[in-house]
Symmetry: C2
């Protein structure tokens, strides 16, 4: 299923962009560990390399892209502040980076975002504007703030600097896992992480298949990659994977993922809860629902890791206590 990219037009994000991002974020982002677990390998019948982005600053990979984007702004623009819309992890990342640079941040967040993510965003000193995920347009609200304040919009995914920043996780994974990979499973919402990781992984391991993992019922990536064109999700809410509810692939992320990815894998909320409980009990880490979709794909066998070397991005760990309790009590 792996597609060589050579015959395509140049992609909007290249390895050099990821390498520049890696240099730019090195002073502030963490190099997150790659975890191994012998029983997971035995169960999967292969070797699984778990990139623990839950241990990234702000608890998710989003810090990488936000830092790369904001560090690359010219200082005068940066001083006017930044704006972002996000269900939570991008929000916290932009707020934290703005705090590092000492510039104001306004974050437009859905009112049904986990309380822990809203609290986390305010904690970094950002001004939080709540909106209704179904009735209001976050893009329109953010655009209004940009017009009023002269602040710069930091998009959640459809931006080359954001994609390049997220892709540093893929470069790190390849440096840490000691050889080529047969596949990498990446949680996908807007597709920025998947696009960046694809560029990084394919540069080092050209035959690796990239699989975008998403919640059942929100499988816009799986359908879009199959159809060869962008398809929307029908529902806008209703999965516990609050980080994976973007309504459709981005334009730039679709171009990259269509060129580089193998396809999509969809997992149910119950499978996600089981993966969260498994990670808690066996890896001793906290993974949020959207961060656990790749692991769920392995544990359920929906992705067959047999005889393969497989990377899995555990993309974030910002989960409400109650949701983790639910995972533990439903999967004892």
């Amino acid at each position: 299923m792996s597609k060589p990219a050579a015959h395509h037009a140049p992609l909007p994000v290249a390895l050099a962009d990821l390498e520049a991002a890696q240099t730019r974020i090195a002073s502030h982002a963490r190099i997150t560990p790659v975890l191994r677990h012998e029983e997971l390998d035995a169960r999967a019948g292969g070797q699984v390399f778990l990139k623990a982005e839950v241990l990234q600053r702000t608890g998710a990979f989003k810090f990488r892209g936000a830092f790369n984007k904001i560090a690359g702004l010219d200082p005068a623009a940066r001083a006017r502040g930044v704006v972002a819309f996000s269900s939570g992890n991008h929000a916290q990342a932009v707020a934290a980076v703005a705090q590092i640079f000492g510039v104001p941040a306004t974050i437009v967040m859905p009112s049904d975002a986990p309380e822990t993510k809203i609290r986390g965003t305010r904690h970094y000193g950002a001004d939080v504007r709540l909106y209704d995920r179904v009735r209001e347009s976050r893009e329109a609200i953010a655009a209004g703030i940009v017009q009023e304040s002269g602040a710069t919009l930091v998009p959640p995914f459809d931006d080359p600097a954001i994609i390049a920043g997220q892709g540093t996780a893929g470069l790190e994974l390849m440096a840490q896992c000691g050889g080529a990979l047969d596949a990498v499973l990446v949680p996908a919402s807007g597709g920025g992480l998947a696009a960046g990781v694809s560029v990084g992984v394919k540069a080092r391991s050209p035959l690796a298949e990239i699989w975008l993992c998403e919640p059942e019922g929100f499988d816009d990536w799986g359908r879009s990659l199959r159809a060869g064109q962008i398809e929307r999700n029908i529902a806008l809410s209703g999965s516990i994977c609050d980080a994976l509810l973007a309504p459709q692939p981005g334009t730039i992320t679709f171009a990259v993922n269509h060129a580089l990815a193998a396809g999509g894998v969809a997992v149910s909320d119950d499978e996600v809860l089981a993966a969260m409980a498994w990670a808690w009990r066996n890896l001793k880490i906290v993974v949020e629902p959207g961060g656990a979709v790749g692991l769920a794909a392995i544990l359920t066998g929906k992705f067959d890791a047999g005889k393969k070397r497989v990377g899995v991005i555990l993309s974030g760990g910002n989960v409400e206590d109650a949701m983790m309790m639910r995972a533990l009590s439903e999967h004892d």
Copy 2:
């Protein structure tokens, strides 16, 4: 408070023993990451390096010592099997290592050990013998099994090979933290981890103070180090720190820690629960009560990390769901 060891008799465990252990365990133990957290540093007023032994195989540092000990047995002795007594983490480690070597393991465990640790030990194929922590002697039960079966006792702490194995965590910490440390905080029960880590840390950073962290009411190490002789705990149960309830320091571990350690720090169960909740929310890792005492000492200010570079061993993550829920609900 730091004491040079030069004028003492040679210690029973030397740097060379740790280096040999490091080579021996390399194929099976994990090099656990050292985590940083910007807000922890800000709160402590220093730099804190958290050695995440919760991510070690079997969920605790104990795998290091058990592997070093069992790998060093002559093959004929090893084939007759191994016996251990343990509240849980050493039990799981010995069982897991015995399984790797394909030899039988009998583990003597207190009947009030966390269910997760008993289940974990059985999971690795060991024969578990439960005993009453207050009325029965685990040493006597284990000695009886040794006599019957010809198996080798793998002591929980008072053994040079065990101490050298645990000390590899200290060598790793020094290699990972990028320079000398001013202090290292180590959870202490029998004192094997503290003794091994002391040897490893002092070899690389001779002026580092080693502080043994323990639960209030079970501060045998603090009292023993002050008195210059081994003192017992009065109670045998009653702290949530189930991994830190050894009745008194070991003979070998006392010799090492008396020569190398600065003193003890005691924290309350409530302070431990707060540290567990803090680690869960901010580090995104699961730390068991006994594993969190060093972090609790930092967070409470009972150990003043101001302007210091301080290592903290997060020694294990094998905790019941209910105990973690309690930490989260009592420390919101």
